[in-house]
């Protein structure tokens, strides 16, 4: 705990820069990644990050020094070329995006490996450390690195804010953006630019795979919580920053634990938790709401059938057999449904079977009514055959809301208290109509 406090309050000068730098890096790449994520080009980061290797090495060969600014410039240039090449291949041939990404990734990285081996055999100690651009080395981060990250974050922030609306249109609907006169090519280039910028400054710290993970996973996690772009950007940036910051803490508190991989493990855990527990989009919520829906449908079917049996003069008493003649219930399903309905007070147990309570009867009658209204609607307005309407209505009866019901009745010219008592296809439909 002490250690954690010391870390949080940034008292230890050794860790200050690393913590700040990873926090900024995670935040900025999380936000930048959102744009690629929404354009379904999530893996672009992976290709760009791999494609930077030859750029770094050529920059080293040309300059002869390991000046980080020179190497980063080289990285950015070759990253940019890789994006251009991917776009060129997909636009000019029938090769699809994913293949183009894989082709460019493997050829650039392969070329990089060739250069690296050549350099390693021809240069002595002066070349060591170049492979940090593959695997990363967060421990070697300097104050200048965190300053660089801060500059990049600021720049990305300014660019995103000043072109926010155009970017939004482009990531959500390219054709629309083009039609309303947004310079799509420019915005496209802008998104590529901020992607390359964040990868090229981050790659030396955390390595290729970790860098692309920082672009991929935060938006994936954030997407489970929101539908809005602003929130997605903020949340994604927040997740990225949180993971970077915690990742640096793990590497600070444990001996010889790498920052990058821990950052990724933490952000992945955030993504898994989001996938499971997020409201609305999470797996558990969806399973649960599906289960509730199934239960409701079974309950409604039972009540409806009981009401129909009453109307047909089959008596008020019902049991599994009498209901199953019209609506089949397995024994276990029957037991469960009946138990829930009794608990809700919608049906009552009498010695040889069950009867509907007043609330149960009106609920069942309401479902039956919706069923018939939908049948009439299908038949009159959709010109569907009378033989087909029943099956359709069997599903729709559970989903008609009072608002839709009112609208349908209005359209059919029926009064709102319209109440067909018997099934439509057992009578001539017109007999049922109460003129307004």
């Amino acid at each position: 705990m002490d250690l954690f406090l010391k870390y949080v309050t940034l008292q230890d000068p050794n860790v200050r820069y690393v913590a700040l730098a990873t926090l900024l890096l995670g935040g900025v790449s999380g936000a930048v990644g959102s744009f690629n994520f929404l354009r379904k080009k999530t893996l672009v980061g992976e290709t760009v990050a791999h494609s930077m290797l030859p750029g770094v090495l050529i920059a080293f060969l040309l300059s002869g020094v390991k000046n980080p600014y020179v190497l980063i410039t080289g990285a950015a240039i070759s990253g940019w070329l890789s994006i251009l090449l991917v776009d060129y291949i997909t636009q000019q041939s029938k090769i699809k995006g994913d293949s183009a990404l894989a082709i460019v990734l493997s050829s650039f990285f392969g070329f990089g490996i060739v250069l690296l081996t050549v350099i390693q055999s021809n240069y002595g100690g002066e070349q060591s450390g170049l492979d940090h651009y593959i695997f990363g080395n967060a421990a070697a981060m300097t104050p200048e690195d965190s300053t660089a990250f801060a500059w990049v974050s600021g720049l990305v922030l300014i660019l995103v804010l000043s072109f926010y609306h155009s970017i939004k249109s482009v990531v959500f609907n390219l054709e629309y953006a083009d039609a309303i006169g947004i310079n799509v090519k420019f915005i496209d280039g802008l998104i590529s630019f901020i992607t390359i910028l964040s990868i090229s400054v981050g790659i030396k710290a955390v390595g290729i795979v970790m860098m692309s993970a920082l672009l991929i996973i935060p938006p994936t996690a954030a997407r489970f919580w929101t539908n809005r772009l602003v929130r997605l950007l903020l949340l994604s940036g927040f997740f990225g920053a949180l993971a970077g910051w915690l990742g640096a803490f793990v590497s600070y508190s444990q001996v010889s634990m790498p920052t990058g991989p821990w950052t990724i493990v933490i952000i992945s855990l955030i993504a898994f938790i989001s996938m499971l527990f997020a409201p609305k989009r999470g797996v558990i919520y969806q399973r649960w709401s599906k289960l509730l829906l199934k239960r409701r449908i079974n309950e409604e079917n039972l009540l409806k059938t009981a009401v129909q049996n009453e109307v047909r003069g089959l008596g008020k008493l019902f049991n599994r057999r009498s209901i199953s003649q019209r609506q089949f219930f397995e024994q276990r399903l029957w037991n469960r449904t009946v138990r829930r309905l009794r608990r809700k007070g919608l049906i009552k147990k009498v010695h040889t079977g069950f009867t509907l309570s007043t609330e149960g009867r009106s609920y069942g009658a309401e479902i039956d009514r919706r069923h018939k209204i939908w049948e009439i609607y299908l038949q009159r307005r959709m010109q569907m055959s009378i033989n087909l309407v029943h099956d359709e209505a069997e599903t729709m009866e559970h989903f008609l809301t009072p608002e839709i019901e009112a609208e349908i009745l209005g359209e059919l010219g029926l009064c709102s208290r319209f109440n067909p008592l018997l099934e439509i296809h057992e009578l001539v439909p017109d007999n049922l109509v109460n003129p307004v």
């Binding site: 029938k94 090769i95 894989a102 493997s106 990285f109 392969g110 692309s212 992945s268 993504a271």
Partner: protein, 289 residues
Amino acid sequence: MDAFWIIITGFLVASSTGMLGNLLLLRRMSMMGDALSHAVLPGIVIAYLISGSRASVPLFLGAIIMGVVTTLLIQFFSSKGKMQADAAMGTVFTFLFAVGVILVTKYAGEADIDADCVLHGEIAFVPLQTSSFLGLGVPTPVWTLLILLGLVQLVFWVGYKGWLLTSFNGEYAKSIGIKTAIWHYTLMAATSVATVVSFESVGAILVIAFLVVPAATAYLITDNLKRMTLYILAQGLVSAVLGYFLSEWVGGSISGSMAVASFLLFAASFVWSKKSNKGDHITKRAKPH
């Protein structure tokens, strides 16, 4: 003789991964090779920690199991978890890779293992381990790769009709009652095995390249699946030869050079297909309406 065996190895890898890459390309899953190459790392490390040796068999098994787990996880996240397909792939493989790197660092002290050596096998070492056959020193990796090639060919040609249907028109295949999921998992399992087996002898980057580049080259020239496989084999052979001499010339990594050579062939077919397409385009336009 070394040159011969290295080229043969490159060709064998190209032909088995290329055939599968062909199917991956048509299903828009070309990044799978890249994903698998990273994701199998924890499998290898865990297998190493359990078996306590660097013998190939346990490491193979670990990697192959992890490859299958990876594909299942990706499938699970995208279908059950409703993750965007490419995001699911990206999340799974980077996560597994990170776990692998953490394991490697954690046990680095007691284990002679690191991410570099696991993932970046080098084709130059292929001729070093040989076993005698008919008085000929045949490198062990060549035997392994030959068996792999046989298996891949078997899977490919036995299921040829199924591959054809499910690759070119998945929706149609589904509608006539073909169980596309089974084909999907067969392909994924085969890809895992093929990539893992190839990694050890040639390194990850060449496998990723050979999974997609020869197939893409062939795809630019023809739509016919049988002809595509033929072109893929030819592409692989030329890449292996060209790459070997390229590396001799510049004195760099052979695997990297083969990847570059493969890309050069792709570029050539790209230019060629653009030219011939342009011709079509003009004649179509010139026709009076």
